[in-house]
């Protein structure tokens, strides 16, 4: 309503300016004067638009469950009012944490040329809502990948020749967001082939990436928390063309000497069709598989490090093979928050995937969302808000 009024007001002002300019042109006799009027008009319309959504006064998240978090998807959200509204709804739901994706490829088009305008907008709006931001960093710019004429690669492709460039970017990102971002996640689900640029997954190579990036992050801000892992829960055996078992992958990371190169582990805890309380087992994928991930950490002497669950949840598509009914999804989600809160002292935060997409995904993944593209809350949003804030 307010926006409609602003738009209406703006269109009236523009029309008036246009009418005044035409009137002045009509009556101006000298060519110079006419040109001057035209230039003034062009300058006024070509001027960069002033922001129509300003930051709100600082807000505080009211919640009874500070472990509650959500993964937002503001990466491709262009309009500031939508960024504002999304984060406002996150706060209203009683979630003090967000995990957000900040693609390297979007912020460094050319080597050494950094653009953080959009990332700044997201982080500042989040901070204004009282939210703590965890930044996931990934997606490699074209210049840091092989030339497409030699080899077609996806944005998830990185080899050892790109590690230092990513280190430079992480240095710049951490320096820029010092004191504004709580933690960064290096890469996403490197144990999946497609997330590793369709190359065979390689925990040793990922460890080498951490080894290149971690010191650069610390150089920029010694207090920045660097998260590693973010492994996809999967049972795929070693040598599979699509993925590697997350527990095996994590052990191989430790074997390759990854421990000194991360401050905490990022874990993904999808429940698929199992209830949140179902006990873990090496041959099962369920929410409590995170306990097995934790066991690997403890076995490798890393028990002092916390775990941040940066993706989790259930899907309520009518047709996807691993989905549950919408009512079950609500029940399992609330049970998961409770379980982590009561049983996992090493878990700092549990972020459900995903709060809202900037546009429909047009497949079953839309059924992970808490809120529609049109900001219409789904019942799961209402229920989590009720539980977290009542």
């Amino acid at each position: 309503m307010l926006l409609a009024r602003i738009a209406h007001h703006a269109s009236r002002i523009t029309l008036r300016a246009l009418r005044s300019t035409l009137y002045a042109l009509h009556h101006a006799r000298h060519l110079t004067l006419r040109l001057l009027i035209v230039l003034i008009f062009l300058w006024s319309v070509e001027r960069p638009p002033q922001p129509i959504v300003s930051l709100p006064s600082p807000q505080t998240v009211r919640t009874n469950h500070p472990i509650v978090g959500v993964h937002t998807r503001l990466t491709d959200e262009v309009e500031p009012w939508k960024v504002h509204r999304t984060l406002e709804m996150v706060r209203e739901m009683g979630s003090p944490w967000i995990v957000e994706f900040f693609p390297w490829a979007y912020s460094e088009d050319y080597p050494g040329e950094y653009h953080f305008e959009h990332a700044d907008m997201v982080v500042e709006h989040a901070r204004a809502q009282g939210l703590t931001v965890i930044a996931r960093i990934g997606l490699v710019p074209g210049w840091a990948r092989p030339h497409p004429e030699g080899q077609d690669t996806t944005l998830n492709y990185i080899d050892e020749t790109g590690y230092d460039a990513m280190g430079d970017f992480v240095y710049e990102f951490v320096r820029h967001f010092k004191g504004r971002v709580h933690a960064i996640i290096i890469w996403n689900e490197p144990n999946l082939t497609f997330e590793w640029g369709f190359r065979p997954v390689d925990p040793v190579a990922y460890t080498a990436l951490l080894r290149a990036v971690y010191p650069r992050a610390k150089q920029a801000d010694p207090n920045m928390i660097v998260l590693a892992g973010a492994l996809a829960p999967t049972l795929e055996p070693e040598g599979s063309p699509t993925a590697m078992n997350d527990l095996v992958y994590l052990q191989k990371m430790y074997d390759a000497g990854a421990a000194p190169y991360f401050d905490a582990l990022s874990a993904h805890a999808y429940g698929f069709q199992s209830p949140a309380q179902e006990p873990p087992a090496p041959d099962r994928i369920n929410f409590r598989r995170t306990e097995l991930v934790r066991e690997v950490m403890v076995r490798n002497g890393d028990e002092a490090k916390p775990v941040y669950i940066t993706e989790a949840g259930w899907n309520d598509s009518a047709r996807w093979h691993a989905s549950v009914r919408p009512a079950q999804r609500i029940e399992y989600t609330l049970a998961a928050y409770r379980w982590a809160e009561e049983h996992w002292p090493w878990c700092k935060m549990l972020a459900m995937w995903a709060f809202r997409y900037p546009d429909w995904m047009r497949n079953w993944q839309d059924n992970f969302a808490f809120v529609g593209v049109d900001f219409q809350p789904r019942p799961i949003y209402t229920q989590v808000r009720e539980w977290a804030t009542r």
Binding site: D152, T154, L155, R319, D359, R362, P379
Partner: protein, 278 residues
């Protein structure tokens, strides 16, 4: 003076200047024709070859990517073979093109990456077109609409008029979200919720609601087993299409042609009925 001269000249010329400076007009048209011909020649000469289609024709195999986790559109049998609407359709389309279909497992997260990296030639996997991606990818015509439909009693004359009606939906489903949206815009519309879509449709069968709102495939599956109900008016549209790289226009054209054939001769409907109406 000028006006007077113009009037005098006008009197000497035929009406509407039809015969004025005929040779100039003729040359103007010749020039335009030359430009058009040159443009066509340039377009034809610079048209990029569809390497994907050439490769497919050379090998005799077209590779379809699909995520076999979306039954009954795609899944794997116990013996590990692809089955479902999309698997059958992919094989049929390949057959119509004189090719063999090779079905490749691709996670839905990686559909477009798989096309970019050349892991497959096309994606057929209950995929809806994404307008944001049309610079890099192209889509065929739709072959199925999975949007929301009303399920009504067979004898019902319900035509989509919702004022004063009661509709029933599965709690938290897409139908529920849509029904709440409709309720805010329709006077007297009551929305009932049930825990499953089957329970929602049973409510209609029991005469406790005018219609249920659910996705098309669920509706078809339920109605096939419950002849007291029928599928009523469509409420939303979610078309399924096949995606190819934008650099493969010949493949796109071939797939569209084959799709049109299977639609026209009833093969598509037969395939849909085989998997949905049972």
């Amino acid at each position: 003076m000028g006006n007077a001269m113009r009037t005098a000249n006008d009197k000497r010329q035929p009406p509407n200047n039809a015969g004025g400076r005929p040779s100039n007009v003729k040359w103007w048209w010749i020039a335009v024709a030359c430009v058009v011909i040159a443009a066509i020649v340039v377009l034809v000469m610079t048209r990029r070859e569809d390497k994907t289609w050439r490769q497919i024709q050379h090998s005799g195999i077209v590779r379809f990517g699909m995520d076999p986790n979306y039954w009954p559109f795609e899944g794997l049998t116990v013996s590990g073979e692809f089955a479902g609407v999309d698997a059958d359709l992919a094989r049929e389309l390949a057959l119509r093109l004189g090719l063999r279909a090779e079905l490749v497992v691709v996670g839905s997260d990686g559909f477009y990456d798989a096309l970019t990296a050349g892991r497959c030639d096309a994606i057929i996997s209950a995929l809806m077109p994404d307008p944001k991606r049309t610079w890099d990818f192209a889509y065929t015509a739709p072959y199925f609409d999975e949007g929301l439909v009303f399920v009504v009693p067979s004898a019902s004359r319900f035509s989509g008029d919702l004022a004063g009606r009661a509709i029933v939906v599965e709690f938290g489903s897409e139908g529920d979200v849509r029904a709440r949206w409709l309720a805010r815009r329709t006077v007297g519309l009551r929305v009932l919720t049930r825990e499953t879509s089957a329970e929602a449709m049973q409510t209609v069968e029991a005469g406790l609601a005018d219609a249920s709102l659910t996705d098309t495939a669920t509706a078809r599956q339920y109605v096939a087993a419950h002849p007291t109900l029928r599928i009523g008016p469509r409420q939303t549209s979610s078309p399924y299409v096949i995606a190819v790289r934008a650099s493969a226009p010949d493949l796109l054209r071939a797939l569209n042609k084959a799709l049109a054939q299977v639609q026209a001769d009833g093969t598509l409907e037969h395939t849909l009925a085989r998997w949905l109406d049972q």
